[in-house]
Point group: D2
Chain length 371, copies 4
């Protein structure tokens, strides 16, 4: 029996992708497209720092480099864009790319306010392009296995959920003074909010209570920089969720999810780097995951493969890849997670629980195919 | 080299213990004293349900049974009492027992209000008797190993803590209608509050935010019965803690603790009944712990052995057993956990965060030896 | 609902036990009987080292001490004996105790040759007394859970089995020169042989191939002292088993069992001291078990509780405790494991596989109730 | 700081690879080269079953298909070959490919006898081409982490080793009657022999004792088909190793390795498919790995990436990738594992331990760079 390579049978023209923003994350996505995602090619890189973009293009064999994202959006040879610029440009770039007819993969957050995001998503809808947000955690094998179990009812109706992110560190945050105060909610915990929303699919986040502090860098407390946070979310189905983050875990990159419900519990989260174990005079020991692009390398690759597959399906009018459970994070997911993050900021400011804004709009978004 | 039985060398007269309240927990403690705690004997049982008490006494060979706790308190042959009556009698029984010169082991909670508990603890202090509260989790081998690590600084300064209790169930709570509305805070989460306080030793719980609901038994929501809760606690050292409880875990008894700090993380909590594992066509499987007196049998025994040792030391003027880290939960611990539980009730009523009452008194209690 | 103490209802006279041999293991058993086994009392201690025996008796409150085992065997007040003398005296003491009408618990091995053991077991049979061998591993919670699964057919028909013992050490064996050359088979691996026989119940060990060496203490190779061994056993049902031992594991006491069969696999063996885990800059770490009487404390207690229960049942004519699966190791088990150990010695001497002796006798023994 | 794509900087011409044999494993390797190995292209496919080869070529975009391996060997555009034909052709194809100046990656076993393999390796040496054998397990993250630890001395001097392979199955082996009798040693356990040799680097396998049987398919015992085996290996440094295999594990693909030594133990082997866990009324459960190309997908990719990198280094005269520990399995490794497998066959035939042949030649091979 021959090994079946059905995924590649009758492979059509590759999906041509332009990268907007070639910083650390953008460059990693570029490498994924160029080296690890079958059926996609990296056609162009746009970055104001042209020198850096050119070095990347040389390394990856990318034919086109530009300082201006507009050059990519105007290129009729390009099917889709990956937006990996600083977050403050995300929503306007989404809107421009959609208007130019490009399918869009955007790093989180999709915007910094609900109004700007709604404008962007309206442009996506108007253009009929595919939109995907970079919630890569959905593509990690353990989170996906947990989601599959949840979709099959293994845990029953969710009652208690937990998601946490602890970024690797050394006990201090060298560039903390330059990090925006609310980053912990808008750029870090937004992953956890999506995980919780996804795991508790069908329910809406209704109310949020957030506490946060500068515990890693107490000296920055007065500037409002927050490195540690705990968030409680009440969902419309009664479920209670906790999200938790910290910017400096000495043991590395710690990402976990847990859903407890009427039938049981499912958990995701990898405690160790591999299955290898050591037993010495000091007892048991094992390596822990140290970096997001190591722990989630497969997830980062798979989210882009999913994106490329969806773009190809749209472009060529073929069926998109399907899954037994909800997988691809789209516009409604981006907005729902952002709404929770923004509510957290309000909650910290007010010192009490606050309602999550814009639920009516969220429900409407969910009903729209393609968003 | 002979095995050294130093624990028993020159064993003096056994500690004579009277049990007040022979319900499920009291009877289990009685059996522990009679069968599993060297150096202690069960001398008497008091319970209004004399028939039940007599059956227990017969089974265990206990010489004396009475309907009235006063008979035990008046018995000069008895060194100490175990109070396992309903919680509403705890503080007054503590006060009476102390006044009668008996050393006291009391099941949690030590009282239902801070005033009544303060009165009881004042009686304990006035009488100079030993007081211990039934926070058995401190004696579980994994929680104790975690505490030892914390005492050695393995996790550094605590920043994020978590403790949870999920009681075993079948998806409903047969006797829920008869359970007091606030039980989840006063009798269940109080264990978690103590664990968090103990793990974050040296800091005080300052502010509490609690959300709770009837998710297992939604039909009882209108009566105010709560079966699911999440609590956020801010500590005086900035640490943020989450406690979580649910009354019906289909997979059994789930107790966990976690401390994340500036140097790392320690975790406690046993996911499976034993180290045995099965691999079949369905994948990996293993038994989970089903009952508190199974999971914590050793802990329940050890807390009473600790109590008996302390009583003996007081009675005979010998040194009490010592530990590398804080172990025995006393009056200040009972009060601190109760203060958090009461603040949770306020928080649920008010729908927002509330300050934990009585910190000044707490700090004073901590300074008093013997309490 | 009151906690049910049915185990103690109508408790009859305690089982009176005499200890023969108060060395390290004997003293630990003495403490177990005196302090941890309900319904049993330690009535006497016999040891040529009377001083040591007296110290133990004083510590435990044992009323009688003697230099001669005969004094215990002649004592009509004593129901049963625990034999914990050096192994070379075991079989003759078993025979004498049986002849005196005492029920017998004997530490492994029950003898050093099949002839002497057969004589002893014949005496046991003739006297109609209860006999139990100290294969404590059967009472460890994980090995028992694995056995229960096997009895329920979880693994199907066994095809591959593994059992290992690694004793804690520091990389050398201080008293190695005084340890008999074949100890690794007769006193250490005999536990593994019993585990394998028990896990593969219904089949007989047919052929053995053993390799062994002095790898911890190469300097003692010339004296024939062996500290490392691997044994392959062929069973009558075709199953292939491996037993493995080493005398110096720097990480502590490592005991594991595994059965792979037509339906799946079951595993037993505890890798860590407790469920506590640490995560630091060095990664994950946890404590490992360091001592047999710590790892197997419950197992050592339970095997004696089982013995006491069986003795009481015989003495008082009441039903013995029952189990869903074969538990108590008796004479046939002692002999079967010894036969494998002796075959290993032959195999090492001959440098090839050898048949396991005396199978016909083994099968006959299995059919005899009470042995 | 930009993400550094140093692996691709200044990327030269890709390595052009020809595949010989497009069966199940060959087709998977083809897909890996075409889709997952940066810097390599699949230039041609040779297979007597041209139709199947053409389907694969179409799916992967491979430009050239032929029925004859000679067409690939004669193609001056091709740098290297992957040999994935049936094992009986391996050694002669290695020799021919080497003679044609092609670098060679060959699936295991490299030959079926030591003479034919020696001839092939002599041709490799004479031609100065790079040779790699498909011991993919060396590239699995956990085995590699274990090897790294061993290289750093974590376990000290090896004393006891274990490696096992259990292939997934359903309790029967549908095509068993067509599988060669000695497959379990020559094609399955040869992986384990390499793992043991690699883990015990520096020592030679000296003596082997193998037992094997038809336990999954007892009906084929008379035909000599063996589906279950246990092998004991004595190494020149005294270490004792056990390798174990079975062709039908109902729970999936079970691959483990363990080294115990004078300083401790390291273990490799992944028990579950991902870190996801389920807790339900039945207890804990998790998915197990079901297929080699799933469990070892990364390992299969990485071994070819290693090969492509080495070929490029040879071709372009640049430094080959380096590692802190021995990684790439070459000719001496192929021969050493084969020598053990052949000794196992002898051992089964003779019913006793046998010496491993050809050690002198092995040591000579180890000294030759490039082999």
């Amino acid at each position: 029996m021959a090994y079946i390579t059905q995924n590649f049978a009758g492979l059509p023209a590759p999906v041509r992708i332009g990268l907007i923003g070639s910083g650390w994350m953008g460059a990693f996505h570029a490498e994924s497209i160029a080296r690890r995602v079958p059926g996609a090619v990296l056609s162009a890189i746009a970055d104001p720092n042209v020198e850096s973009a050119e070095a990347l293009a040389t390394a990856l064999g990318t034919p086109k480099v530009t300082a201006n994202a507009e050059d990519i959006l105007a290129d009729s040879e390009i099917d889709a864009v990956i937006i990996a610029s600083p977050a403050r440009f995300h929503s306007s770039l989404i809107a421009q790319a959609a208007a130019a007819g490009k399918h869009v993969f955007c790093e989180k957050p999709a915007g910094q306010g609900l109004d700007e995001l709604d404008t962007a998503l309206a442009a996506v809808e108007a253009a009929g392009v595919h939109f995907q947000i970079g919630f890569n955690r959905r593509y990690a094998d353990d989170f996906q296995a947990a989601k599959k179990d949840l979709a099959e009812g293994v845990a029953g109706t969710p009652q208690l959920l937990r998601s946490l992110t602890r970024d690797p560190g050394t006990g201090s945050i060298p560039n903390a003074a330059r990090v925006p105060a609310w980053t912990i909610f808008l750029e870090t915990l937004i992953h956890d909010f999506d995980t919780l929303n996804w795991f508790n699919e069908g329910a809406e986040p209704v109310e949020v209570y957030a506490v946060a502090d500068a515990l890693v860098e107490p000296g920055l407390r007065d500037q409002g920089f927050l490195d540690t946070a705990v968030v409680t979310i009440r969902y419309s189905n009664g479920a209670l969720a906790v999200a938790e983050a910290n910017f400096s875990a000495l043991y590395g990159y710690d990402i976990r999810g847990e859903v407890f419900g009427s039938k049981g519990m499912v958990q995701a989260g990898r405690a160790t780097e591999s299955a290898a174990r050591r037993y010495t005079a000091e007892g048991l020991s094992a390596e822990t995951p140290r970096l997001n692009i190591e722990l989630f390398k497969q997830a980062y690759t798979d989210e882009l493969a999913d994106f490329a597959g969806a773009v190809r399906a749209r472009r060529d009018g073929v069926p998109a890849p399907s899954s037994d459970f909800t997988l691809t994070p789209g516009g409604a997911d981006a907005r729902r997670a952002l709404a929770v993050a923004l509510a957290c900021i309000d909650s910290v400011k007010q010192g009490g629980p606050v309602a999550v804004a814009g639920l009516a709009v969220l429900s409407a978004l969910d009903d729209k195919a393609g968003v």
